[in-house]
Protein backbone atom coordinates (compact mmCIF):
# COMPACT_ATOMS: atom_id res chain seq x y z
CA UNK A 1 0.00 0.00 0.00
CA UNK A 2 1.33 3.41 -0.95
CA UNK A 3 2.42 5.60 1.96
CA UNK A 4 0.28 8.71 2.53
CA UNK A 5 1.82 12.01 3.66
CA UNK A 6 -0.04 14.35 5.99
CA UNK A 7 0.93 17.94 6.75
CA UNK A 8 -0.14 19.52 10.07
CA UNK A 9 0.03 23.33 10.12
CA UNK A 10 -0.59 24.45 13.71
CA UNK A 11 1.23 26.95 15.91
CA UNK A 12 0.34 25.24 19.22
CA UNK A 13 2.82 22.45 20.10
CA UNK A 14 0.13 20.89 22.32
CA UNK A 15 -2.32 20.65 19.43
CA UNK A 16 0.34 19.39 17.05
CA UNK A 17 1.25 16.62 19.48
CA UNK A 18 -2.42 15.67 19.93
CA UNK A 19 -3.01 15.53 16.18
CA UNK A 20 0.10 13.42 15.66
CA UNK A 21 -1.08 11.00 18.38
CA UNK A 22 -4.45 10.68 16.68
CA UNK A 23 -3.16 10.35 13.11
CA UNK A 24 -0.46 7.82 14.03
CA UNK A 25 -3.26 5.28 14.34
CA UNK A 26 -3.59 5.33 10.57
CA UNK A 27 -1.51 2.69 8.85
CA UNK A 28 1.28 3.64 6.53
CA UNK A 29 1.22 7.41 6.94
CA UNK A 30 4.03 9.90 7.34
CA UNK A 31 3.22 13.05 9.33
CA UNK A 32 5.05 16.35 8.82
CA UNK A 33 4.57 19.36 11.12
CA UNK A 34 4.67 23.08 10.36
CA UNK A 35 4.47 25.74 13.08
CA UNK A 36 2.84 28.60 11.16
CA UNK A 37 1.32 29.48 7.80
CA UNK A 38 4.60 30.47 6.18
CA UNK A 39 6.33 27.28 7.31
CA UNK A 40 3.33 25.34 6.03
CA UNK A 41 3.48 27.05 2.64
CA UNK A 42 7.19 26.28 2.31
CA UNK A 43 6.64 22.62 3.08
CA UNK A 44 3.57 22.14 0.91
CA UNK A 45 5.33 23.80 -2.02
CA UNK A 46 8.45 21.66 -1.78
CA UNK A 47 6.94 18.22 -1.11
CA UNK A 48 3.94 16.16 -2.07
CA UNK A 49 1.19 15.75 0.53
CA UNK A 50 -2.00 13.73 0.43
CA UNK A 51 -3.75 15.72 3.16
CA UNK A 52 -3.26 18.99 5.05
CA UNK A 53 -4.69 19.88 8.47
CA UNK A 54 -4.57 23.65 8.95
CA UNK A 55 -5.30 25.84 11.96
CA UNK A 56 -6.87 29.22 11.26
CA UNK A 57 -5.39 31.50 13.93
CA UNK A 58 -1.63 31.42 13.47
CA UNK A 59 1.13 34.00 13.55
CA UNK A 60 3.12 35.10 10.46
CA UNK A 61 0.42 33.80 8.08
CA UNK A 62 -3.06 32.68 9.12
CA UNK A 63 -4.76 29.54 7.88
CA UNK A 64 -7.28 31.20 5.56
CA UNK A 65 -4.48 32.99 3.72
CA UNK A 66 -2.57 29.73 3.43
CA UNK A 67 -5.62 27.91 2.05
CA UNK A 68 -6.25 30.57 -0.59
CA UNK A 69 -2.58 30.39 -1.65
CA UNK A 70 -2.70 26.60 -1.87
CA UNK A 71 -5.91 26.64 -3.89
CA UNK A 72 -4.47 29.32 -6.17
CA UNK A 73 -1.53 27.11 -7.11
CA UNK A 74 -2.23 24.71 -9.97
CA UNK A 75 0.02 21.93 -8.66
CA UNK A 76 -1.46 22.13 -5.12
CA UNK A 77 -5.14 22.83 -5.66
CA UNK A 78 -6.19 19.17 -5.41
CA UNK A 79 -4.74 18.58 -1.91
CA UNK A 80 -7.58 17.80 0.53
CA UNK A 81 -7.61 20.38 3.35
CA UNK A 82 -9.13 20.07 6.82
CA UNK A 83 -9.49 23.27 8.83
CA UNK A 84 -9.12 22.91 12.62
CA UNK A 85 -10.15 25.95 14.60
CA UNK A 86 -11.75 27.41 17.71
CA UNK A 87 -14.22 29.36 15.59
CA UNK A 88 -17.52 27.54 15.73
CA UNK A 89 -19.78 30.06 14.00
CA UNK A 90 -21.45 29.02 10.75
CA UNK A 91 -20.07 32.08 8.92
CA UNK A 92 -16.50 31.03 9.77
CA UNK A 93 -17.18 27.53 8.56
CA UNK A 94 -18.75 28.78 5.32
CA UNK A 95 -15.83 31.14 4.73
CA UNK A 96 -13.31 28.32 5.05
CA UNK A 97 -15.30 26.02 2.78
CA UNK A 98 -15.73 28.75 0.15
CA UNK A 99 -11.96 29.29 0.16
CA UNK A 100 -11.51 25.63 -0.63
CA UNK A 101 -11.34 23.63 2.61
CA UNK A 102 -12.85 20.15 2.32
CA UNK A 103 -13.75 19.73 5.99
CA UNK A 104 -14.04 21.93 9.06
CA UNK A 105 -13.36 20.69 12.59
CA UNK A 106 -13.79 22.76 15.75
CA UNK A 107 -11.78 22.61 18.95
CA UNK A 108 -11.69 20.92 21.35
CA UNK A 109 -11.09 18.16 18.81
CA UNK A 110 -12.22 14.55 19.15
CA UNK A 111 -9.51 12.16 18.00
CA UNK A 112 -12.12 9.80 16.51
CA UNK A 113 -13.57 12.60 14.40
CA UNK A 114 -10.12 13.61 13.12
CA UNK A 115 -9.40 9.98 12.22
CA UNK A 116 -12.74 9.51 10.47
CA UNK A 117 -12.27 12.66 8.40
CA UNK A 118 -8.65 11.77 7.54
CA UNK A 119 -9.63 8.23 6.55
CA UNK A 120 -12.37 9.57 4.29
CA UNK A 121 -10.21 12.14 2.54
CA UNK A 122 -7.25 9.75 2.17
CA UNK A 123 -9.65 7.08 0.95
CA UNK A 124 -8.36 4.56 3.46
CA UNK A 125 -10.38 1.61 4.79
Amino acid sequence: MEQKRILIVEDSPTMRQLLVFALRRLKNVEIVEAQDGMDGLRKVSSDHFDLALIDINMPVMDGLKLISLIRGEESLKEIPIVVITTEGAKEDRDRALVLGANEYLTKPIQANRVLAVARGLLELE
Binding site: L18, A22, T86, K107, Q110
Partner: protein
Amino acid sequence: MSDERRHNLFARGEEFLTLFRRGAEFTKDLLRENERLRHELVQREQEQQAAARNPEDWSKLRMELKQRLRTLEEECASYRERLLQVEEENRQFVERYLEIEEENNNLANLYVASYQLHSTLDLDEVLKIIIEIVINLIGAEIFAVYLFDGNSQDLAVAAAEGLPPSAFPKCSLGAGPLGKAVASTETTCWDTARSDDLRQPIVCIPLAIQKRPIGAIAIYSLLQQKNGFTALDHELFTLLGGHAATSIFAARLYSQSERKLNTIQGFIDLLTK
Protein backbone atom coordinates in the same frame (compact mmCIF):
# COMPACT_ATOMS: atom_id res chain seq x y z
CA MET B 1 -55.01 -40.32 -72.76
CA SER B 2 -51.56 -39.16 -73.87
CA ASP B 3 -48.25 -40.65 -72.49
CA GLU B 4 -47.37 -37.38 -70.74
CA ARG B 5 -50.63 -37.21 -68.97
CA ARG B 6 -50.35 -40.84 -67.94
CA HIS B 7 -46.80 -40.20 -66.60
CA ASN B 8 -48.04 -37.22 -64.56
CA LEU B 9 -50.86 -39.21 -63.10
CA PHE B 10 -48.41 -41.98 -62.15
CA ALA B 11 -46.04 -39.47 -60.47
CA ARG B 12 -48.83 -37.89 -58.50
CA GLY B 13 -50.05 -41.28 -57.51
CA GLU B 14 -46.57 -42.20 -56.19
CA GLU B 15 -46.40 -38.98 -54.24
CA PHE B 16 -49.78 -39.63 -52.69
CA LEU B 17 -48.76 -43.18 -51.73
CA THR B 18 -45.51 -41.89 -50.07
CA LEU B 19 -47.42 -39.34 -48.06
CA PHE B 20 -49.98 -41.98 -47.11
CA ARG B 21 -47.24 -44.36 -45.96
CA ARG B 22 -45.64 -41.60 -43.84
CA GLY B 23 -48.98 -40.77 -42.31
CA ALA B 24 -49.53 -44.43 -41.53
CA GLU B 25 -46.13 -44.71 -39.82
CA PHE B 26 -46.81 -41.58 -37.75
CA THR B 27 -50.15 -42.94 -36.69
CA LYS B 28 -48.54 -46.24 -35.69
CA ASP B 29 -45.99 -44.31 -33.53
CA LEU B 30 -48.77 -42.37 -31.87
CA LEU B 31 -50.67 -45.54 -31.15
CA ARG B 32 -47.57 -47.15 -29.66
CA GLU B 33 -46.92 -44.09 -27.40
CA ASN B 34 -50.55 -44.07 -26.37
CA GLU B 35 -50.31 -47.73 -25.45
CA ARG B 36 -47.18 -47.13 -23.39
CA LEU B 37 -48.73 -44.24 -21.48
CA ARG B 38 -51.88 -46.26 -20.83
CA HIS B 39 -49.72 -49.05 -19.47
CA GLU B 40 -47.85 -46.65 -17.18
CA LEU B 41 -51.06 -45.12 -15.95
CA VAL B 42 -52.41 -48.54 -15.10
CA GLN B 43 -49.20 -49.31 -13.17
CA ARG B 44 -49.43 -46.08 -11.10
CA GLU B 45 -53.03 -46.72 -10.30
CA GLN B 46 -52.15 -50.23 -9.15
CA GLU B 47 -49.33 -48.91 -6.91
CA GLN B 48 -51.62 -46.29 -5.41
CA GLN B 49 -54.27 -48.87 -4.70
CA ALA B 50 -51.63 -51.11 -3.10
CA ALA B 51 -50.40 -48.25 -0.84
CA ALA B 52 -53.96 -47.36 0.13
CA ARG B 53 -54.62 -51.04 0.93
CA ASN B 54 -51.50 -51.11 3.36
CA PRO B 55 -51.90 -48.20 5.88
CA GLU B 56 -49.05 -49.41 8.18
CA ASP B 57 -46.39 -48.64 5.63
CA TRP B 58 -47.96 -45.28 4.95
CA SER B 59 -48.19 -44.54 8.68
CA LYS B 60 -44.56 -45.57 9.23
CA LEU B 61 -43.49 -43.29 6.45
CA ARG B 62 -45.49 -40.41 7.93
CA MET B 63 -43.95 -40.97 11.40
CA GLU B 64 -40.46 -40.97 9.97
CA LEU B 65 -41.11 -37.76 8.10
CA LYS B 66 -42.63 -36.09 11.17
CA GLN B 67 -39.66 -37.09 13.34
CA ARG B 68 -37.27 -35.77 10.76
CA LEU B 69 -39.18 -32.50 10.63
CA ARG B 70 -39.09 -32.15 14.43
CA THR B 71 -35.34 -32.76 14.49
CA LEU B 72 -34.77 -30.15 11.81
CA GLU B 73 -36.96 -27.62 13.62
CA GLU B 74 -35.01 -28.21 16.85
CA GLU B 75 -31.69 -27.73 15.03
CA CYS B 76 -33.02 -24.56 13.45
CA ALA B 77 -34.15 -23.19 16.84
CA SER B 78 -30.75 -24.03 18.35
CA TYR B 79 -28.92 -22.25 15.50
CA ARG B 80 -31.18 -19.22 15.87
CA GLU B 81 -30.43 -19.10 19.60
CA ARG B 82 -26.71 -19.41 18.96
CA LEU B 83 -26.91 -16.66 16.33
CA LEU B 84 -28.64 -14.34 18.81
CA GLN B 85 -25.95 -15.14 21.41
CA VAL B 86 -23.18 -14.38 18.92
CA GLU B 87 -24.89 -11.15 17.88
CA GLU B 88 -25.17 -10.12 21.53
CA GLU B 89 -21.50 -10.96 22.16
CA ASN B 90 -20.57 -9.01 19.07
CA ARG B 91 -22.56 -6.01 20.25
CA GLN B 92 -20.82 -6.18 23.65
CA PHE B 93 -17.41 -6.38 21.95
CA VAL B 94 -18.24 -3.34 19.84
CA GLU B 95 -19.41 -1.43 22.93
CA ARG B 96 -16.28 -2.39 24.83
CA TYR B 97 -14.09 -1.46 21.87
CA LEU B 98 -15.70 1.99 21.71
CA GLU B 99 -15.23 2.43 25.47
CA ILE B 100 -11.58 1.46 25.21
CA GLU B 101 -11.05 3.75 22.25
CA GLU B 102 -12.55 6.67 24.15
CA GLU B 103 -10.43 5.84 27.19
CA ASN B 104 -7.38 5.73 24.92
CA ASN B 105 -8.23 9.15 23.48
CA ASN B 106 -8.68 10.57 26.98
CA LEU B 107 -5.35 9.14 28.12
CA ALA B 108 -3.66 10.62 25.06
CA ASN B 109 -5.09 14.06 25.94
CA LEU B 110 -3.90 13.76 29.54
CA TYR B 111 -0.47 12.54 28.47
CA VAL B 112 0.00 15.39 26.01
CA ALA B 113 -1.10 17.97 28.59
CA SER B 114 1.27 16.57 31.21
CA TYR B 115 4.15 16.22 28.75
CA GLN B 116 3.81 19.80 27.54
CA LEU B 117 3.53 21.23 31.07
CA HIS B 118 6.79 19.60 32.13
CA SER B 119 8.65 20.29 28.89
CA THR B 120 10.02 23.69 29.94
CA LEU B 121 11.44 25.59 32.92
CA ASP B 122 10.61 29.01 31.50
CA LEU B 123 7.66 30.58 33.36
CA ASP B 124 6.33 32.46 30.34
CA GLU B 125 6.33 29.26 28.29
CA VAL B 126 4.60 27.35 31.08
CA LEU B 127 1.87 29.99 31.17
CA LYS B 128 1.57 29.83 27.38
CA ILE B 129 1.19 26.05 27.54
CA ILE B 130 -1.51 26.36 30.21
CA ILE B 131 -3.37 28.76 27.92
CA GLU B 132 -3.06 26.29 25.01
CA ILE B 133 -4.35 23.42 27.11
CA VAL B 134 -7.34 25.36 28.39
CA ILE B 135 -8.26 26.56 24.89
CA ASN B 136 -7.51 23.47 22.81
CA LEU B 137 -8.29 20.61 25.19
CA ILE B 138 -11.00 22.07 27.42
CA GLY B 139 -12.50 24.57 24.97
CA ALA B 140 -12.63 27.70 27.11
CA GLU B 141 -13.08 31.11 25.51
CA ILE B 142 -12.51 33.58 28.36
CA PHE B 143 -10.26 32.61 31.25
CA ALA B 144 -7.36 33.81 33.37
CA VAL B 145 -4.40 32.31 35.21
CA TYR B 146 -4.02 33.90 38.62
CA LEU B 147 -0.85 33.69 40.72
CA PHE B 148 -0.14 35.05 44.15
CA ASP B 149 1.42 38.48 43.99
CA GLY B 150 4.77 38.03 45.75
CA ASN B 151 4.28 37.15 49.41
CA SER B 152 0.87 38.79 49.64
CA GLN B 153 -2.45 37.00 49.81
CA ASP B 154 -3.65 38.74 46.64
CA LEU B 155 -4.21 36.91 43.41
CA ALA B 156 -3.13 38.78 40.28
CA VAL B 157 -3.57 37.80 36.65
CA ALA B 158 -0.40 36.30 35.16
CA ALA B 159 -1.94 35.33 31.82
CA ALA B 160 -5.37 35.59 30.22
CA GLU B 161 -7.31 34.76 27.08
CA GLY B 162 -10.41 36.32 25.58
CA LEU B 163 -9.97 39.62 27.46
CA PRO B 164 -6.92 41.74 28.31
CA PRO B 165 -5.31 40.81 31.66
CA SER B 166 -6.11 44.26 33.04
CA ALA B 167 -9.85 43.52 32.67
CA PHE B 168 -9.71 40.84 35.37
CA PRO B 169 -9.98 42.09 38.96
CA LYS B 170 -7.52 41.18 41.66
CA CYS B 171 -8.85 39.14 44.48
CA SER B 172 -7.70 38.05 47.91
CA LEU B 173 -7.38 34.53 49.25
CA GLY B 174 -10.62 33.56 50.95
CA ALA B 175 -12.54 36.58 49.64
CA GLY B 176 -15.36 36.32 47.13
CA PRO B 177 -16.30 33.18 45.19
CA LEU B 178 -12.89 32.96 43.50
CA GLY B 179 -10.85 33.61 46.66
CA LYS B 180 -12.88 31.07 48.65
CA ALA B 181 -12.54 28.43 45.95
CA VAL B 182 -8.75 28.95 45.87
CA ALA B 183 -8.57 28.70 49.66
CA SER B 184 -10.39 25.35 49.54
CA THR B 185 -7.76 23.99 47.02
CA GLU B 186 -10.63 22.02 45.44
CA THR B 187 -11.84 22.56 41.87
CA THR B 188 -15.17 24.33 42.04
CA CYS B 189 -17.78 24.38 39.27
CA TRP B 190 -20.74 26.74 39.32
CA ASP B 191 -23.93 25.74 37.60
CA THR B 192 -23.81 28.27 34.78
CA ALA B 193 -22.66 28.20 31.16
CA ARG B 194 -21.21 31.70 31.10
CA SER B 195 -20.35 34.49 33.51
CA ASP B 196 -20.07 38.16 32.57
CA ASP B 197 -19.11 39.01 36.17
CA LEU B 198 -15.33 38.57 36.35
CA ARG B 199 -15.54 38.09 40.10
CA GLN B 200 -17.65 34.97 39.53
CA PRO B 201 -16.12 32.35 37.26
CA ILE B 202 -17.95 29.24 36.02
CA VAL B 203 -14.99 27.05 37.05
CA CYS B 204 -12.12 27.71 39.45
CA ILE B 205 -9.16 25.32 39.37
CA PRO B 206 -6.85 26.06 42.31
CA LEU B 207 -3.18 25.44 41.54
CA ALA B 208 -1.82 23.82 44.66
CA ILE B 209 1.34 22.10 45.81
CA GLN B 210 0.96 19.89 48.85
CA LYS B 211 -2.39 21.50 49.61
CA ARG B 212 -0.82 24.96 49.52
CA PRO B 213 -2.39 27.18 46.83
CA ILE B 214 -0.03 29.13 44.58
CA GLY B 215 -2.67 30.40 42.15
CA ALA B 216 -5.73 29.39 40.13
CA ILE B 217 -7.22 29.07 36.69
CA ALA B 218 -10.60 30.75 36.44
CA ILE B 219 -12.83 30.07 33.43
CA TYR B 220 -15.61 32.53 32.60
CA SER B 221 -17.02 31.23 29.32
CA LEU B 222 -16.68 28.37 26.84
CA LEU B 223 -16.33 28.27 23.08
CA GLN B 224 -19.63 28.45 21.20
CA GLN B 225 -19.48 24.80 20.10
CA LYS B 226 -18.66 23.49 23.58
CA ASN B 227 -21.71 22.14 25.42
CA GLY B 228 -20.76 21.77 29.05
CA PHE B 229 -17.97 19.77 30.67
CA THR B 230 -17.23 16.09 30.09
CA ALA B 231 -15.55 13.51 32.31
CA LEU B 232 -12.31 14.21 30.45
CA ASP B 233 -12.58 17.92 31.28
CA HIS B 234 -12.80 17.10 34.98
CA GLU B 235 -9.74 14.87 34.64
CA LEU B 236 -7.95 17.78 32.96
CA PHE B 237 -8.99 20.08 35.83
CA THR B 238 -7.37 17.66 38.29
CA LEU B 239 -4.26 17.38 36.14
CA LEU B 240 -3.93 21.14 35.78
CA GLY B 241 -4.47 21.68 39.50
CA GLY B 242 -1.43 19.53 40.29
CA HIS B 243 0.88 19.52 37.29
CA ALA B 244 0.46 23.14 36.26
CA ALA B 245 1.18 24.17 39.85
CA THR B 246 4.33 22.04 39.91
CA SER B 247 5.49 23.42 36.55
CA ILE B 248 4.97 27.03 37.66
CA PHE B 249 6.72 26.35 40.95
CA ALA B 250 9.65 24.64 39.20
CA ALA B 251 9.93 27.45 36.64
CA ARG B 252 10.01 30.09 39.38
CA LEU B 253 12.55 28.11 41.37
CA TYR B 254 14.71 27.65 38.28
CA SER B 255 14.51 31.36 37.50
CA GLN B 256 15.50 32.27 41.07
CA SER B 257 18.36 29.79 41.14
CA GLU B 258 19.58 31.03 37.74
CA ARG B 259 19.64 34.59 39.08
CA LYS B 260 21.46 33.48 42.23
CA LEU B 261 23.90 31.46 40.17
CA ASN B 262 24.62 34.45 37.94
CA THR B 263 25.11 36.66 41.00
CA ILE B 264 27.50 34.18 42.63
CA GLN B 265 29.32 33.71 39.33
CA GLY B 266 29.64 37.49 39.08
CA PHE B 267 31.18 37.64 42.57
CA ILE B 268 33.58 34.81 41.77
CA ASP B 269 34.63 36.54 38.56
CA LEU B 270 35.24 39.76 40.53
CA LEU B 271 37.29 37.96 43.19
CA THR B 272 39.36 36.02 40.71
CA LYS B 273 40.18 39.03 38.51
